[in-house]
Structure formats: C-alpha cells, structure tokens
Symmetry: C3
Subunit: 134 residues, 3 copies
Amino acid sequence: MPTITLSTSKKHELIDITSQVEEIVKNSKVKEGICFIYVPHATAAVTINENADPNIQTDIIKAVNKIVLEHDNYLHDSIDNNAAAHIKSTMIGVSEAIPINDGSLQLGTWQDLFFCEFDGPRSNRKVIVKVIKQ
Amino acid sequence: MPTITLSTSKKHELIDITSQVEEIVKNSKVKEGICFIYVPHATAAVTINENADPNIQTDIIKAVNKIVLEHDNYLHDSIDNNAAAHIKSTMIGVSEAIPINDGSLQLGTWQDLFFCEFDGPRSNRKVIVKVIKQ
Amino acid sequence: MPTITLSTSKKHELIDITSQVEEIVKNSKVKEGICFIYVPHATAAVTINENADPNIQTDIIKAVNKIVLEHDNYLHDSIDNNAAAHIKSTMIGVSEAIPINDGSLQLGTWQDLFFCEFDGPRSNRKVIVKVIKQ
C-alpha cells in the first residue's frame, strides 16, 4: 500500500504532498479512477488549497488556531495536553478523494494537497494513498 | 468525465446541484457503487444539507462567515484579497462520496448536494462527478 | 447495502461505530479496497478521532458548540429550531473513506470511527457502509 512518510518541524504546519501523490498515481498506471488520501493520525489532517502563494498556509493555520481555542479547559489536556489538535483533526478531516482522468490527478489550477500537522514536531507521520480504477 | 458548469451571482452562495448529479448517476447505468463529487477550486467547496427549507443556506453562509473572519490581517489579502474564501474552502472541504444503491443516490430524506461559492460572483465554476461501480 | 442503525440519548453525542464497521469489512471478504461511511442525515455527521481517552468526545462536542453558536438568529430556527445542528453537519461532514489493506481497516493506532449526533435524542439514525474492491 503506497504510503508517504513525513517529518514535521513545527507545532502547526502544512506540508505540500502533491508531487509525491502524483508520482504514486503515475506508478499505478490507472487512467480513469479515484485517488484516495488518508491520514491515520488523530492530531493531523489533510486539506486541498492553493500553494501558488505559500502565505495561504500561514493564513489557514492562523484561522484554524482562532477557531479552535488552545487549552480551553479540555478534559484531555490533563492526559496529553493536545486536545485542540484532536479537535482540529475532526474539523479539517483525514480523508480526501480526487478524480483521475487520462492518468492525471484532477486538481484545479490553484489546488495542491497538504498534510496538516497540528501537534508537531513529529517524525514518522504517514499519509496512505490508494488508487482505485473506475 | 462528467462535469457540471456553474455561474454564481453573489460573493457567498449555495447552489443546489442534486438534480444534475442524479442525472449523471442515471446516465452511468451503475446500479451499485459510489458517486464522487469534486470541486477543483480553492475558494469554493461542496456540502450536503437540507433544501426543504432554503433558509438553511442563508444560515450556513451566516455561520461560516462568523467562524472564518473576513480580512483578519491575512497575508494573502495583500495579493488577492480573498484569504477568507480559501480558509472556508478548507473548513468545508472539496470532496464528497455518496453511495449508490439500486441505481439511485442514497441521499437522506433531508439531504441535497450544494456547491458552495465563497468568492463570487464567478462564471465557469466546475463540479466533477465520477461514478465508480462496486 | 450494509447499514448500522443507532439510537442516540442526548442532544449532542459521539457514538463509536468502529467495531460494527470492522465487522462489515470482514464480512465483505474484500482484501484491498476502500470502506465508505455515509450518514444520510442533515443534523448528524461522521468523524474519526481517538477513543483511548473518551474525554476527547466531550472536548470535541464542547468545541463544536462553541464554534457554531446555538440560536444565533438563524432563519431555520423559526421552522424547526435546529439550525445549529444543520450547520454542524456541514462543518464536520457526512462522508469518510478509509483504506482497507490485507482485509483490515487502516485506521491509525489512535483512530476510531464516530457517529456524531447534533440534534438528539433520536431513534433510527442510520450509517451506510459500502466496501469497494480495489
């Protein structure tokens, strides 16, 4: 099962995984189908957004941190101190499905695929990629 | 690849695409499978919710605009002035997968499919629909 | 079509459905593929998060209720008084796709599958599970 392995260097970080996913799609030889992206972590997520201006990553992280308050008397903070990261994972989500047409991923002109780290830095973060033929 | 093309008329707008998606499912002749909806834009999204009361669209837009603040010193605003729309796209998401049973889309009684415009008005918005056989 | 039927006992509640979904995957005999989870309700959702510490469920509900304000002059409240539940359904989402490898669901070590009730208590809530072979 094709898997991308990542290390993250900050508490909150978006990492562009588009080229690795495109490589997996190419190697699959699937011409028409769906590419699934799955993040098997409860304090991370996956999203699709623009990377032409990398500032958007900073803006997304800033907004998510404002939407989900840090250490807001969460019960889980007394155990692991990362409840906010869990909530962010649920808000953004851990799965995406992108169509494949004529062998290529149908991301829009302004779309890239990002792994979202909400509880870094971490080594050994995983992204599972599955390609299904139509 | 079946694609729905839309024009939007407001900055924020939900557009019901259920009947067009159902038509594509019908034409696919797939009896058991999954229907994928994919929005290839970084300032739009797709969601599933009720349309029996169209006021819900207004309520969703109002809530999303309260959750994601407009022009909150985002870095991308100096380039394109639409950072909030990008963040909304990430919060709501650009992909959905709905089961097909006996040739029909398994939306619940109170569920319709909506294209979400967060940076309109725009012409030439696209929604890609892919039907996969089980 | 395999379907899980649930009753909920509170207005807001997360219910762990992992073991029922794993049973459906086992019975499908699919070794490599994707498991789709679909919630056909407009005031509920599905999410993936940790259950090793069940407090996380409480933290997620608390945070979601803070993000989406209750009775914030929503138009739909005059009809059904549950607009906030509809908005939460759109924020969290009603579909998930999890890879299957060697016959087993590829949830991460700290991931469980949850049905999210935002407008309970209700009987006869449904979760549709579809397994697609690669």
